[in-house]
């Protein structure tokens, strides 16, 4: 055997090829743009509806676009479960913090950490979105998610010092990721034509 079997490399390649269709990028971009639409139009239902629709389209697109080209694979769920647990814990912690803040504000005292979070909201939101991208990068072993996390910080941190409306940054980030996702998908479709299944039935070089 001339080549060393590198399981980590095989695992990384399997994850990368399954997620190189750009769909996860487009889903993330749609979620960010939905958030922006919610703020611009002040219609919370629109944001949620767009998110639900894009999630459903993601599942259907995976079946229609990815699986016929690259095949179907189920990955071990340890990382996904771990990440979901972490997200639920984070959500619960945020809810508790929100409740504490609400009670303190109702009681007539605004906690310092809440004042800081409000003052630096651009950085707080930027870091939160970047953390979500990093979590996705870790779960799906996809390096470009880390690049999106960096892009988010590049857009949101200077935003703290500039005076543009908040949704501008969301629109910029969402549009950039959407364009990158579409480029990724186009490359994927060109690289893996749908009918390229080899059915020649060549005999194996068995020993």
């Amino acid at each position: 055997m001339n080549e060393k079997i590198n399981l980590e490399e095989i695992r990384r390649k399997a994850y990368t090829s399954y997620h190189q269709d750009g769909l996860i990028d487009i889903l993330a971009a749609c979620s960010i743009l939905s958030f922006a639409a919610w703020i611009i139009l002040d219609m919370i239902w629109l944001g949620w509806m767009s998110f639900v629709i894009s999630t459903s389209i993601y599942a259907a697109a995976k079946r229609a676009l990815t699986i016929p080209r690259i095949g179907f694979v189920k990955f071990p769920q340890q990382r996904t479960r771990g990440m979901l647990t972490a997200l639920v814990a984070l959500g619960a912690l945020s809810s508790v913090l929100g409740l504490i803040a609400f009670m303190q504000v109702e009681g007539g005292t605004t906690p310092t950490w809440l004042l800081l979070a409000i003052e630096y909201y651009m950085i707080v939101i930027g870091v939160s979105i970047a953390a979500l991208f990093s979590a996705a990068g870790y779960t799906f072993r996809t390096n470009r998610m880390y690049a999106y996390a960096l892009l988010t910080l590049i857009i949101f941190v200077p935003g703290h010092f500039l005076n543009f409306p908040f949704y501008y940054y969301l629109l910029l980030l969402g549009t950039l990721i959407l364009l990158l996702g579409i480029a990724q998908m186009t490359r994927f479709v060109r690289r893996y034509p749908r009918s390229a299944i080899d059915t020649t039935g060549e005999s194996g070089n068995d020993q």
Binding site: I10, G71, F72, V73, P76, I197, T199, T200, G201, E202
Partner: protein, 108 residues
């Protein structure tokens, strides 16, 4: 090569599972080892093997009880899922250990 080295090789090499050792099958097993299950097309894309070649090796691995082949319908389309069995996983782990031992026992 010393006699001791010869002795070690002589005891370790026969332990190498030839069914796993064949390069194409080793590649298939390594790919199935890192996922829960996959279909033929995914394995074909990942390994670069032809359809017939892959099919022939999968049959051998299935006959040995290393791979479980499940035929099912997904969205009204036939779908074949391939999964490494516990026996297959153990065989692969043992193969890796034995190969490591073979190379460690070789004189520098």
């Amino acid at each position: 090569m010393t006699n001791k080295a010869n002795g070690n090789e002589a005891t370790t090499i026969p332990k190498i599972d030839r069914l796993v050792h064949e390069p194409a099958r080793l590649t298939i097993i390594a790919h199935l080892y890192v996922v829960e299950s996959a279909d033929f097309l995914f394995l074909q894309r990942q390994t670069g093997l032809t359809w017939g070649n892959l099919s022939s090796h999968i049959s051998k691995l299935e006959a040995a009880g290393y791979v479980e082949v499940t035929k099912e319908f997904v969205d009204k389309k036939p779908h074949t899922a391939l999964k490494l069995t516990n026996k297959g996983r153990s065989a692969f782990k043992e193969y890796r250990q034995n190969m490591k031992q073979v190379f460690e026992d070789l004189p520098k």
